[in-house]
Symmetry: C2
Subunit: 206 residues, 2 copies
Amino acid sequence: MNFSSRLIDDAVSEFSRLPGVGRKTALRFVLHLLKKNQQEVQAFGDAFIRLRNELKYCRDCHNVSDNEVCEICSNTNRDHATICVVEDIRDVMAIENTGQYRGVYHVLGGIISPMDGIGPGDLTIESLVKKIQEGGVNEVIMALSTTMEGDTTNFYIYKRLKDQTVRISTIARGISVGDELEYADEITLGRSILNRTPYENSLSHK
Amino acid sequence: MNFSSRLIDDAVSEFSRLPGVGRKTALRFVLHLLKKNQQEVQAFGDAFIRLRNELKYCRDCHNVSDNEVCEICSNTNRDHATICVVEDIRDVMAIENTGQYRGVYHVLGGIISPMDGIGPGDLTIESLVKKIQEGGVNEVIMALSTTMEGDTTNFYIYKRLKDQTVRISTIARGISVGDELEYADEITLGRSILNRTPYENSLSHK
């Protein structure tokens, strides 16, 4: 496409760098911005620049934070002896939204993926190991995705922590609530039978 | 969703103002930006601010332009006696991409839509009428969409121009090249029979 304007071309190129945005969608975004007034567009552009320049990461859990220590880590009502290990901040938000977890988090910033050139050194695993070594932590809950990379990362962290006096668990895998058995994949269904739970447990969730 | 950071919340809100972008997609965009370095994010934000502040509109055809007169209007090889009237700059790009049109354009900046509070005065219709009154134009090609609003706009412009010595035409409506007749809607098929063209014309396009 020829946009007959270098400025439009630049803006379209920038938008189309976003995941899942092609040049047609990018152009739609640009035309939308052109209908806004100057202050609105200034606020739009500034939000991202400010985000990148001012956003901090929590010293303890590596979650994003406006302060040195994030709201979750600085909350004394939360259980600091239970750490949930997640891939990125989206997972923190997902778990927080359930309202079922009262512990703290540890954000790895990715998972081990040799294909993408991401090794253990690129993640915050050392900081997790150090936290466990310092003591005071009873349980580490691994909440990574069940991909090859997730399993590798789980195993790596397990190996690093297994000599410490800390319980290591993973979140339960099984049939989703509301799902029908006949459509569930075999591996999930198989695991859900192996890892069956006492019926009384399911009553207490009601 | 609670993002535990005002900066992320702001950035997500800004992205979710874009058409078709919800808060989940916006968050995906934000996390993508967080992986970029500072210069890249600066360039990203600046592109939109610069676009809004520096973009000009062509004095003659109201197309976007980096200069006072756009590349199409200032091109002496183009036929300035034929004006194609379109809704917005996307239509200019679409027609330019066909490589079939050698005339110039007139960008209305929208179509008459009382529902959205857009009247003839909000569009560049006066400037089109003035251009025709000044003479030198043989034909005006209406290339608006065939919605109620498009038809209203067509009719309004037709009424304003019908006393001038200028030919007014609309782009052909019919079955798309490659489409099968059985799936075409009745109105399009009906029009394509009424407005049938000599067989020789279709040969010359090959």
